[in-house]
Amino acid sequence: MTAFLHIYPYLIAGWIFLCGLYGIATSKHLVHMVISLAVMQTSTYVLLLNIGYRVHGAAPVFVGVSPGTVTVDPVVQALMLTDIVVEATIMALMLAMADRAHDRAGTLSPDDLRMMRG
């Protein structure tokens, strides 16, 4: 059971990654595609949180705590925060592009926006 609990978060992360991938691969709508990308990104959060997790670890605030107290890893949380900031920028940029594409071409379906085939 412990072994299963140990591997369970990795399976969840993999599952979310594949869900996002399925969404992108079958998408018929640019906004849906961006959301699928956001779903895919969530899998990296689950993975990072799991890697930084310590059993019975406290929050990584080192004020008034005796040295040697077990805390969860603050480095992965910093990584995650940076990643959230970066990806928010990219999502915003892509949504803006989808919006402009709708203005210019009158459609949000990637199948209608395929002038670059071949």
Partner: protein, 599 residues
């Protein structure tokens, strides 16, 4: 300690912030001049770093967070001459691109210049950093600036679509990299690349293999290697010309640089020596890229798409040098990279001149209309020779060194064939355009849907002659493509610094400030003139066979098949980013399978 290693990153970022803050009040020429001055200053800083780091890598810790024992918590730059050289190349290309766009290219209310500077800063940081997560942040910064630059012409649907495909595929690549970084951190508890290398050591288990697969696949998406490459032609055919120069010239190659860096420094002892399990997937994918995109390149009829596919074909050839990974092969790779960046940059600038003067990028539409542009025609022809690497152009030198560094006879013949193939087909397409557009020979030639991507010319004024600001960057590029040959002892000097670059031990010792002496490497004897001549002959042959196909007997119309209508494989380039991501997963499974089965 003086913060000079941070200058090539910090200065363009600060000026970019200034320019974007003041963009509504600054006249166009002030913004352009400031951007050009900044790029020139970056070129100076990076060249200075190359000189200063010649004998010892420069280590710079931000905020003086130097490592305690083996624990490197701070973020550092490790300036090697190779990294600084790539940063200098980034600055040079940006400088030429900004000269080209001087007061002319539609700049989206002066947003273009700050984006270019951010792009430059990200590329420099990517080449210099010693921290794995910092590498990812610069990767994302580079990508974001690139997406925005690619879709700069928001008034048309095609650039938006190209930028969207580019953004989806590369962001999936970024998730691959982030997952890889998380797994590496889980395995080692470190983010500094040298410390990770030290901790992984010769440890080899499934966690390391999976992390390696994620990292390599993510960077191969940026490196546009088949089957990760589909975003590149879409992005290149719609991006503004100066942006294409930066994409093809350096951004794609930086993906291969990251692959090399990671396989040496992180997994040098675990997966690499002698890079054996990694070598097979890289060689297979590189060969696939050369052949597949060489054929696709000849099948295109949109000038920028021809050049885009030719970039993938050459990126595959360059990946061979990365896969071999010995000092001589990496020296060859760097020579190839520099000469290719210059040749391809020159060709893109020339395509931009055609777009400026003749208002189209489609080969059938441009037929015979390039006749008055004599100097442009001459440079275009020289660009074709540069893609083959015909002496005095430097790509041939790089190919010779990579081929000479292989000691297995069968593999050496195969790699020589690949170099012949990429030169012959990509130059063949360039010569075909030369014959049709500049000489007006043959008839118009086939058209296709992708060649009709409407492109609004990038600048408004209609001039009767090619202005110098367009012509001079193209001329400089083509001339510099022959520079490695012209400078005496350039190869020996390069080999001296590369010898240190490809050694994991030397890298780790430098980070911890310990002296380390390496045995010197020596240049092997090379011979490649026969290959270059064969490639030239074949390129001229297929180009003229395509142009004069009506005069050929039916049985000999091979080039017609190569050239388009019968090329059903082109449907795989579907234009739907979902398909591109699925192909990237196929490549991921291939890389992972190879690493798993071979190790």
């Amino acid at each position: 300690m003086l913060p000079y290693p941070a200058l090539p990153v910090a200065v363009p970022l600060l000026i970019a912030a200034l320019l974007s803050g003041l963009r509504k009040w600054l006249p166009r020429w002030v913004a352009d001049a400031l951007a050009i001055l900044t790029a020139a200053a970056c070129l100076l800083f990076s060249s200075m770093l190359v000189v200063l780091s010649r004998d010892h890598n420069i280590i710079y810790w931000f905020g003086n967070w130097a490592p305690r024992g083996h624990m490197a918590l701070g973020i550092g730059f490790e300036v090697s001459p190779v990294g600084a050289g790539l940063a200098a190349l980034a600055a040079l290309l940006t400088l030429l691109a900004l000269m080209y766009s001087w007061r002319a290219i539609e700049s989206g209310l002066n947003l273009y210049q700050p984006l270019m500077l951010i792009f430059l800063a990200a590329m420099s940081g990517f080449a210099l950093t010693a921290d794995l997560f910092n590498l990812f942040v610069f990767f994302e910064l580079m990508s974001t600036a690139a997406f925005a630059l690619c879709g700069l012409k928001v008034s048309e649907p095609a650039p938006l679509q190209g930028a969207f495909n580019f953004a989806i595929t590369n962001t999936v690549g970024a998730f691959f990299i982030l997952t890889g970084i998380a797994l590496v951190y889980a395995a080692t508890g470190a983010l500094n690349m040298a410390q990770i290398g030290l901790q992984i050591g010769s440890r080899h288990d499934s966690l390391v293999a999976v992390a390696c697969t994620f990292l390599i696949s993510g960077f191969l998406i940026k490196a546009a290697i088949v089957p990760f490459h589909f975003w590149l032609p879409d992005a290149h055919s719609v991006a503004p010309t100066p942006v294409c120069v930066l994409f093809s010239g350096l951004m794609v190659e930086l993906g291969a640089y990251a692959v090399l860096r990671i396989s040496i420094v992180l997994f040098g002892d675990a997966v690499s020596p002698p890079l054996a399990p990694m070598r097979i997937p890289l060689l297979v994918l590189g060969s696939l890229s050369v052949i597949w995109c060489g054929l696709m390149c000849f099948a295109q009829h949109h000038l920028k798409r021809i050049l885009a596919f030719s970039t993938i074909s050459h990126a595959g050839a360059m990946l061979i040098g990365v896969a071999i990974g010995t000092p001589v092969a990496v020296t060859g790779w760097l020579l190839y990279l520099f000469s290719h960046a210059m040749a391809k940059g020159g060709l893109f600038f020339l395509a931009g001149i055609l777009l400026h003067r003749l208002r189209s990028m489609s080969e059938p539409v441009l037929h015979a209309r390039g006749r008055p542009l004599r100097f442009t025609a001459l440079l275009w022809l020289a660009g074709g020779f540069a893609l083959i690497g015909f002496p005095p152009f430097g790509i041939g030198d790089g190919e010779d060194l990579i081929a000479a560094s292989i000691h297995t006879h069968g593999l050496e013949i195969w790699v020589s064939f690949l170099f012949f193939f990429t030169g012959a087909l990509t130059a063949g397409a360039v010569f075909r355009v030369f014959l049709r557009v500049f000489l007006g020979l043959g008839e118009k030639g086939p058209s296709d849907r992708a060649s009709q991507i409407g492109e609004v010319p990038e600048d408004k004024e209609e001039e009767q002659k090619v202005p110098a600001r367009l012509f001079i960057p193209a001329l400089i590029c083509i001339l510099l493509s022959a520079a490695p040959e012209a400078i005496a002892h350039s190869k020996d000097a390069l080999l001296f610094v590369v010898n240190r670059f490809v050694s994991q031990t030397a890298y780790i010792h430098a980070i911890y400030g310990q002296p380390f002496a390496l045995p010197a490497a020596h240049l092997p004897a090379t011979a490649g003139l026969a290959r270059d001549l064969a490639a030239l002959a074949f390129a001229v042959l297929i180009a003229s066979a395509a142009v004069f196909r009506k005069r050929l007997p039916r049985a000999l119309r091979l080039a017609t098949h190569l050239e388009g209508r019968f090329f059903h494989f082109r449907r795989i380039q579907s234009g739907h980013p979902g398909d591109y991501v699925v192909w990237a997963m196929v490549g991921f499974v291939f890389v992972g399978g190879c690493l798993y089965l071979l190790s």
